[in-house]
Symmetry: C2
Subunit: 118 residues, 2 copies
């Protein structure tokens, strides 16, 4: 991704590709530029987003479903309308207790997603 790469101004969810990440998890990229990226991540019931960390800060909203979420050494069950924030390099992960969707945003953008999904 070059420094001036960016999504179109408008993204229609029905038209945007979903990338199958395996294990009942898939991801759709919405708006982004080099400094900010918004994605939706769909989880089947029981699917796992394994504990991981990255230098990008991340804010997440639970759009639907019910998730066991760990951030650092703290864990909570989150439902629609709840969210979490993972500071840079702070470990985080989720387990979908029910099928659902997370809205994840990253600053800066996840170039690795563009290379994999794009």
């Amino acid at each position: 991704m070059t420094a001036d790469a960016a999504s179109p101004r408008f993204v229609h969810g029905a038209d945007a590709a979903w990338t199958d990440l395996g294990g009942g998890v898939s991801r759709q990229i919405l708006g982004y530029d080099a400094a900010l990226m918004m994605v939706r991540v769909r989880f089947e019931s029981g699917a796992v987003g394994a504990l991981h960390h990255h230098p990008h800060r991340q804010a997440t909203l639970v759009e639907s479903g019910r998730f066991q979420v760990q951030v650092g050494h703290e864990a909570r069950v989150l439902v629609a309308g709840d969210g979490f924030f993972a500071a840079p390099d702070v470990e985080h992960g989720v387990v979908a207790l029910e099928a659902g969707v997370l809205v994840d945003v990253f600053a800066p953008a996840r170039e690795d997603f563009l290379n994999r999904d794009g």
Copy 2:
């Protein structure tokens, strides 16, 4: 907001305050640090987010409802699952054709929101 200000790691939507912005629009701040902020904005039917611009880049997801959205000189009707991206200083605005909620994210964070809502 100081450079190291940040939200709690977990925000429960049922507990987070809504700030009445007038005109049928209210806003709830979710996760943030100085570089990234996620908010939800609720619109009554017919409510308007007037055209404006700011140096922060913005990505938005329509969580629910139906919105007429203008970004730059381009306008679209967006529904749940659709999104838009406004580059820094690009004018944008919305009209809620039906009541609904937008998920707005900003990089860097909107310090003005913290000063007003916090």
